[in-house]
Assembly symmetry: C2
């Protein structure tokens, strides 16, 4: 698998990329982007669970249903989330889609919209529409155009986020490319994780949806920085079919799932690592749970605990805070069965402190990335969950911003 901006990209067939400066961002950086897919491309998407959703989420969900999973183009803008913008926000979003579809000679519902940026400010719709002809004219199937696309969709991210991979099946090659946006922390009025996944496999929308849901459950749904859910979160998977390989075959599906999971896992890590003020990324490994869902419930409670997150910032092996978080997770746990490891080091055995070399543990916890293992002593299910520390810098960044 290739990841990060410097690696070469496995570019799926059947997609062209472009980006432009529409003048939405005050910085004058690229803030609008387009992907056009070959005719017949299919798609599936997952959206934020927040009840307050941005206009593009409402429109995108409706269009996907109406087109029965056919998507010819993706139009993204950064710098404005088009959220809490009322009926005007919906009209603006529809205008962008209908204008783009006219220029692309596609149906309106085959244009998938996506926005990220400030909440509660009207979308500068004319600026976007004015750039559509250029966005369409300048499309390319090059690494440079993909990197520019990745750059155009970010907001306060410090770096673009990409991962790609390929596998071979039926003597052909299937390519997968993922591009993400999100800096782990949800930002001052700048929210959102956006993930766009492209592949040249041939698949029905329902097949894509199933794979996407399963893989997201283990990747994007197992990361946490500040526990807040954005109003715009979107994960979109588009399949052009241009590889000539079909997802229907069992062995192909196994390979595809595996590679898609790798890509989503990489993008998850890139998002979490890029969180504001993040000094440590910690993989919580919850083991010996009765079910995977229960393991996730425990992991999520630990991942969201302010006390745990501040202890991680101080590289402090404060297992009492983790034990207390497990205790309030809502699960029926027996504290006398719980053991906790920092790195490979046992620090709490069956609910009581276990003597450990604090220098060793402190060194381990000073690494930018390490693992904490929690054994519940109840069963055989497990999960991995990525979390971060909470630093004074995060608070400073998020508090000092003023509207």
């Amino acid at each position: 698998m290739k990841q990060g901006r410097s690696a070469r990209i496995h570019l799926p067939l059947g997609f062209c990329f472009s980006s432009a400066v529409a003048g939405i961002k005050a910085s004058g950086r690229p803030d609008s982007a387009l992907v056009e897919a070959a005719a017949g491309a299919t798609a599936a998407a997952l959206f934020t669970k927040n009840r307050v959703v941005a206009a593009p989420v409402e429109v995108g969900r409706k269009f996907l249903a109406r087109s029965r999973g056919r998507v010819r183009a993706l139009i993204v803008n950064s710098g404005n989330a088009n959220c809490a913008t009322g009926a005007a926000g919906l009209r603006h979003c529809l205008r962008v889609c209908s204008q783009a579809s006219r220029l692309l000679r596609a149906r309106t519902e085959e244009v998938f919209p996506s926005s990220t940026g400030i909440i509660g400010v009207p979308l500068p719709v004319e600026k976007i529409i004015a750039r559509l002809p250029d966005l369409i004219a300048n499309q390319a199937r090059t690494e440079a155009s993909v990197l520019d696309f990745a750059q155009a969709i970010i907001t306060t991210d410090t770096r673009p986020k990409l991962a790609s991979a390929r596998f071979h099946a039926r003597r052909r090659t299937v390519n997968l490319l993922g591009i993400a946006k999100g800096s782990g922390m949800i930002h001052p009025q700048l929210a959102t994780m956006l993930v766009f996944l492209f592949t040249d496999i041939a698949a029905k929308p329902a097949e894509l949806k199933r794979v996407l849901r399963d893989v997201s459950k283990e990747t994007f749904n197992c990361i946490s920085v500040d526990g807040d859910t954005s109003t715009n979160d979107t994960v979109l998977l588009m399949a052009s079919g241009a590889s000539g390989v079909s997802l229907r075959e069992t062995d192909v599906q196994t390979s595809f799932r595996k590679v898609l999971r790798e890509i989503c896992r990489s993008l998850s890590e890139q998002i979490v690592s890029d969180g504001e003020g993040v000094k440590h990324v910690v993989r919580l490994r919850v083991e010996q749970a009765r079910t995977r869902d229960e393991a996730v419930q425990v992991a999520r409670t630990i991942a969201h605990s302010l006390l745990v997150k501040t202890a991680l910032a101080g590289a402090d092996p404060n297992w009492g805070r983790i034990l207390a978080a497990v205790g309030r997770s809502g699960l029926l746990v027996d504290p006398h069965r719980i053991s906790i490891y920092f790195g490979g080091q046992l620090v709490c055995q069956r609910g009581q402190g276990h003597a450990f070399n604090s220098q060793h543990v402190h060194t381990e916890m000073s690494k930018p990335k390490y693992e904490i293992r929690i054994q519940l002593g109840q069963g055989h299910a497990a999960c991995s969950y990525l979390t971060t520390d909470l630093t004074a810098e995060y608070v400073r960044i998020n508090a000092e911003y003023s509207t």
Copy 2:
């Protein structure tokens, strides 16, 4: 009502207080305390909902059941939580109670234990037992002894927390006194909110329990600093009966509830205001909910949001973060019905931004205490919920501590 350490105290009849230095705290400050109640005193208690509970919580719960709500003495130590200490922790707790009961000529199950402080370290039981004779000999019914008691039960609190009040019924006087410990934030391995309430009313344990549960629901269960639940949280209400007034009469009960609510509300505010690094205490007022429970669910989600708490630290009227928190509260809300006020100032009307004087709002949000009102547009239920900002100082304090 009297509150704070400087005000005069309405001292309930039938209770004597004492405190001592047992040498548990490294600082050499008072760390053990005793209250003896008149024979026949009744009691009710509420405990932490955490599944991981300290030994004194386990013992206190069992003793209250066994004695059918009779409590003759309360023995508290600070500096050690006696939590995650296994079977030895339970034995230590029982030894303290049995030794105290022998000296007091009471039954063991009539001695209620309580501990707060570091987790996972064996309780220095001999040090406490060595001080029991002095604690019993030095009991007094004076303001000074009450203030010393309040001082002896705190850990990292910056000040002791007291509130007292009285009311008249049947030409007699009923006194209520509350003493609390807890600095809002749960501390580095120093956890816990402890609240001890004393009154000279005459009441059955079941009556006390009912009133205590109702009042706590509106006070101690409606505050949040960091969302973590301690392993030792305890609220104990003791009634000596010495006033000669019975809780059974309807009018007495009304007065008693009202005064108890005032005291618990005051102690709640004192706890939240004393949180580490807290610069702003904010009263979240959620209105127009279908039910009070739904209002609390929304308030709790806002109160725990890192994004909201950091915005409060920066005195930033970032209503988009509050709207997003309402959206992920789990409630079926319609964003287009939600309005938000900072102080008296409307900032979001029916889901969209409303022009406001940002200087006015910033001034309001710079106060140490103010109100944010959220109207859901769904019904007529409401709740108040106290939360705090999250400052870089909090993170520094909680991160820089190292075991």
